[in-house]
Amino acid sequence: MVDVLERPALRAEPPPEAHGPTGLLKWLTTTDHKVIGLSYTVTAVIMMVIGGAFAEIIRAQLASPNGTLVSLAQFNELFTMHGSVMIYLFAGPFAFGALANIIVPIQIGAPDMAFPRLNALSYWLYLTGSITMLSGFFTAGGAASFGWVGYAPLSNSLNTPGAGADLWIGGLLLTGFSAIFTGVNLVATIFYLRAPGMTMFRMPIFTWNLLVTAILILLAFPVLTAGLIMLYADRHFGTHIFSVAGGGVPVLWQHIFWFWGHPEVYILALPFFGMVTEIIAVFSRKPVFGYKGMVFATISIAALSLGVWAHHMFTTGVVLLPFFSMMSLLIAVPTGIKIFNWIGTMWRGEVWFSAAMLMALGFLVTFLIGGLSGVYLASPPLDFFTHDTYFVVAHFHSVVMALVMAGMAGLYYWGPKFTGYLLNETIGKVQFWFLFVGTQVFTLPLYLVGLRGMPRRVAIYPHDPQWKFLNDLSSVGAVLIGISTLVFVANLVYSWKRYPAGPNPWDGQTLEWFTTSPPPHHNFYRLPPIRSERPTWDYNHPEHRTVPHGPRNGDGA
């Protein structure tokens, strides 16, 4: 029996570090997926802080019905850029650029991504695109102000003239190409660079989810890119694709946008689902419950997500309601399977409440709220009732705040792998409680004010004591969330190089916990035999392998 597979060309002890540039030059010229992933992580977290700052201004403005903190024009820019920064520049890149870039190659025993230079290009396009989009604030007309969805014809040159809108389109094109290239890279890496023994059904769930995410990126993002080019042509080249005057169809933009936009929801969510799956399993000391069901649930979610875009357009009156309603309701089924599998993973386990696990549980509860409120919106009559009110805003903020918690769980869990140092657990738990309580205080009043008729994207609203009270409560929640971010930054400063992690601080199960923290240049000097989706666990706990169900089928070990 082979205990450890040696890489033929490598020795058991670390070779001397390869010669190469260091410092700034290294950062600028690197093609190492771990360095690129770290750049992605830092950039995305900075974007989260910027987008969060916009949110705090928005909540301050809405704390009183006739707020005067910002003008109507500035308010439109703020919520547009809040949504754009959070979706395009934080959540997406953090999901498939940051942790995916670092962890996926290590989880499958690969030395790097399949196309390291393309990977570097992805990052630089992302950074350039982000700066391009944000630079709109420094133009005379201000940043884009037509909402993050840029509905035509509000987004044409007549209704929204100025460079801010063009910079928004340009920035989005650049980050879109960045996403497409990352998608190509992930698919190629996962299909071609898996270590010997790592069959598809031995891949960790995180890697599975990133594979499905990458395929969704390749199906959805080119549509957005095409739409943006059409929009730019309408603005500057005299075409009339989205304007009635020239024989165009404004609602076509909504179709194109949401044909990207709804898969995008799952492009954001699936990587975080994967993170949570791994974290719950490790901190319960059990395998992922219903592993294959989890994979099929992920694939079903992705498949269904390509046929639900028009549920964002129920109130347009020009889409087939029953089809899109049924498809949207059905997504609840695989999502429910995931939730029950997460509970099943904890069931009869030994649940350790580390900061990462608390964040994952916070995700579970918050995502439950966001998921259940989403089911209402799949029903056209209920959507007519709540569309474009704060109910919808509350729904997707429950979802994305759940994803933020999952991302934080990912940072507490995998951060030690790529930095070599643990974060402080106590400060992490303090951060969790601010984030969790803050999220509920922020979102729950928004559901109620939406049901009382408050539309989204308004800077001032009618005097009504209930509306004001609920808005104030929500603003308090936003402040708590802001504090949690400060606590996180404080933890980064406090824990800086303080707690060395070692290769496997959490008794992890997957390959990344077999190598050093941080991993060497090409990730592994040696690999354990891969006979299940938990090679590191099998190696460390040979007497505690997965209990097979039914008659024992030779697992080759």
Binding site: P250, M346, G349, P455
Partner: protein, 266 residues
């Protein structure tokens, strides 16, 4: 102790007779009431499923919290259980879909009507035209226009937009529809109570989106006829034209004082 439990039990049974509103309200049209009941149905399902999941999570968290370095049994599959939580949700979804279809088919049906109102949305106001009569109401931002319509009557609405996408939304009707440029959107409102209801544009339409308000005044058919007749004659037409011209002036200072709650009688 036993008495307290008895009171609690009786309270639960009594409250079980009426389904809670879950934050919504029945509203003042026939459709808004069926939408409200659909809302209650969905909410009951959500409360039951959400409650079950929360109980399971809490149980797992309390019962299985780590007490030792023991390594638990490494179970991974339980096919009958997994099938159960695949099939039962599919059945629930089919039920929700059926209920949705029943309400939706009623709501989007366009029955024959005697009263038609052409609603035109523009940046940033509303124009209500009554075909076959000389009645026109137009207003923007702070000059909130009022759409007058008769109670207990099917009122046919033709909704259009002159420029960008707007949203026609009346909270008391539990209903909204986009006003899309180049598209004629048609629907029927059937109010069951008189009163004045607040309406607002819900789709971002530019600078003064926050202030694109209107009122819907539901009156008795007799009052409605009287209101229409007041528009007859050249004098009335001239007044309407003057009013339309006045509202085209850009509004510079804005002070919203409109109460959000409807004053409708139930």
């Amino acid at each position: 102790m036993r008495a307290a439990l008895g009171v609690l039990g009786a309270g639960l049974i009594l409250s079980g007779c009426t389904v809670p509103s879950f934050g919504a309200s029945p509203g003042d049209t026939t459709s808004s009431r069926s939408v409200f009941h659909l809302w209650q149905g969905f909410s009951l399902g959500a409360a039951l499923i959400g409650g079950l999941v929360v109980v399971l999570v809490l149980w797992a968290v309390v019962r299985y919290r780590r007490r030792s370095e023991r390594i638990p049994e490494q179970h991974q599959y339980h096919i009958p259980l997994e099938l159960t939580y695949t099939i039962v949700p599919i059945l629930i979804v089919l039920g929700l879909f059926a209920a949705t279809m029943v309400v939706e088919n009623k709501e989007v049906a366009n029955p024959r009507t005697n009263v038609t109102i052409d609603v035109n949305a523009f940046q940033w106001g509303w124009k209500f035209t009554y075909p076959g009569t000389s009645a026109v109401v137009v207003g923007q931002t702070t000059q909130t226009p009022t759409m007058v319509m008769p109670v207990n009557t099917n009122v046919h609405i033709n909704l259009t937009s002159s420029d960008v996408v707007h949203g026609f939304y009346v909270k008391a009707f539990n209903f909204s529809r986009y006003a899309l440029p180049g598209v004629l959107n048609q629907f029927t409102l059937h109010a069951v109570a008189t009163g004045t209801f607040f309406g607002q544009c819900t789709q971002l339409c530019g600078l003064y989106h926050s202030l694109m308000w209107f009122d819907v005044k539901v009156v008795t058919p007799a009052q409605y006829q009287a209101w229409l007749t007041a528009f007859h004659g050249p004098a009335a037409a001239a007044t309407a034209a003057a009013a339309a011209a006045a509202v085209r002036q850009q509004t510079s200072s804005i002070t919203p004082t409109k109460p959000a709650t409807s004053t409708g009688t139930r």
